[in-house]
Amino acid sequence: MNQRSTRFAATVLMVLPLYAIGDDTQPGSAASVFSFSGFGTVGETHSSETNADFTSSIFQPNGAGHTRSWSPTVDSLIGGQISARITPELSAVVQVIAQQNYDGTYRPHVEWANIKYQFTPDLSLRIGRVELPTFLFSDTRKVGYTLPWVRPPIEVYSLIPIATSDGADSSYRLILGDFINTTEGSYVQSNAIQPNNRGTALARNSINFSNTTEYKSLTFRVSYQHVRLTIAALDDFLDTFRLFGPQGIAIADKYDSDNKPVATEVVGASYDPGRWFVISEWGHARFNSFLGESTAWYASSGVRVWQLTPYVTYSRARAASNSDPGLSLTGLPPALAGFAAGLNAALNSILQQIPDQSTVSLGTRWDFAKSFDLKLQFDHTRIGADSDGILINLQPGFRPGGTVNVFSATVDFVF
């Protein structure tokens, strides 16, 4: 976690009780200023691919398949939140989550910590730590109880790794008859440490815009994101290409992630009249680096019968390219040609990690008790011939282009 933001969260945590104590003598009292709520998921996930791990987030170091046949770490987490309504206009929120971290620990981290000022009932400004609403379920993806599925379709939700961001965001709502239109904009930055020595992803000057239109049961949403992304982990490797003159320099410049512009466009819609729902989202991301360019979409539908909500989802991620011809070997002395061929192979193994896969999911949610649900989900994934798919911890026996079956059982709760 970024030191400055830790300090900010700590300040919010320390200052809030002061307001509460100050207010205690008033009829409002601390009880109505503060509200505490929490959520969690307890789950087990099994993956049929034993030469790699299935995870729900790229920020987790291991998961189901290779590390454990049945893994509780993929979806299990617990979160707590204190919300404070200091005045009718001014409110604050701090949310802490404990889940598997990049380093395998379960040390809690601050997911949200911001102060919100409500200028009018329809216009607000927040400063502090927020989750970006890139996709329809991005900002509540960790609150399993809010989702129809075990987890949002990973093909789409891993298109842009979503991390907690620090900065300012604003929301404006416009109501015209039965149309409710909400525009959100933010300027943030984030530092996300990736597991398994893949380095820290530094996102700077992140500008985000989204517009949501609700008309009765219909929701339509577009969002756009532009960010400068730096991941230095591959710099030493790519710099080796620079030794081969102009063609090597061109390759290194193309694939390094040194303050590279990343643009993302997302379109989504949902129709939920109550007894059934259909949701679809489409996204495109261009990283201008070794992370490549990808397009992903999903469509999901479910029906609510009694306390059950069975659903089916199809999702797909396509990489613009999973390979590069690399350095031309013609004219190189034999010893150097062998070295260049090795570099080319290493580069292609990196590009192979850009996800190209499709998944059919079948599952059900069962609202078996107040504030609890149980979900069972089966995913059948086909990985593109040149791609490692969305898997981590690839073992020597792993081969691209296979199929993977994943089974998940989770219990979600809110309190």
Binding site: S35, S37, F39, G79, Q81, S83, R85, S91, V93, Q95, W112, N114, K116, P121, D122, R126, V130, E131, P133, D139, T140, V143, Y145, T146, I175, D178, I180, E214, K216, P273, G274, R275, R304, Q307, D367, K370, S371, D373, V414
Partner: protein
């Protein structure tokens, strides 16, 4: 053939009587009789209760008074207006709460308590069983 017809009409009769028994427990959306609001659409009422609208169509502020989780009136209100089960309402508010966007409306334990608050503040809107309606409140929607 006659046999099949008899079974079909028996099933239909059962279904109709079931339907009638559901319709009979009538929850209506009400405001204080001192309020200027006379009528609201289903959509306007549900948007106010889900925090999507904070004002009545005339621009005055709208404060929803909800009933306690698990109460028959509450379950019927959300089922009738939005086809939402108690779990769907809970999940809806979890999305709002855990993104720091707000808190659910104030809740009261009974329809009588709801009525008491409604009468005290003309900006509030609530729902009560039709049998509780008297001259102190005005029905703005009978779903």
């Amino acid at each position: 053939m006659q046999f099949i017809y008899r079974i079909a009409s028996a099933v239909l009769a059962c279904a109709l009587s079931l339907n009638i028994s559901v319709v009979r427990a009538d929850v209506v959306a009400v405001v204080s009789s001192k309020s200027q609001i006379t009528t609201l659409s289903k959509n306007q009422v549900i948007d106010i209760f889900l925090g999507k609208r904070t004002r009545f169509p005339d621009g005055s502020s709208a404060i929803p008074i909800d009933q306690a989780e698990g109460s028959a009136a509450r379950d019927e209100f959300y089922t009738r207006l939005a086809d939402m089960s108690p779990a769907q309402v809970k999940a809806f508010w979890a999305r709002i709460i855990f993104t720091g966007r707000g808190q659910p409306p104030k809740t009261v334990a009974t329809g009588l308590e709801a009525k008491r608050l409604l009468i005290a503040d003309p900006n509030t809107i609530g729902y009560i069983d039709q049998s509780l309606v008297d001259s102190s409140v005005r029905v703005v929607l009978a779903p």
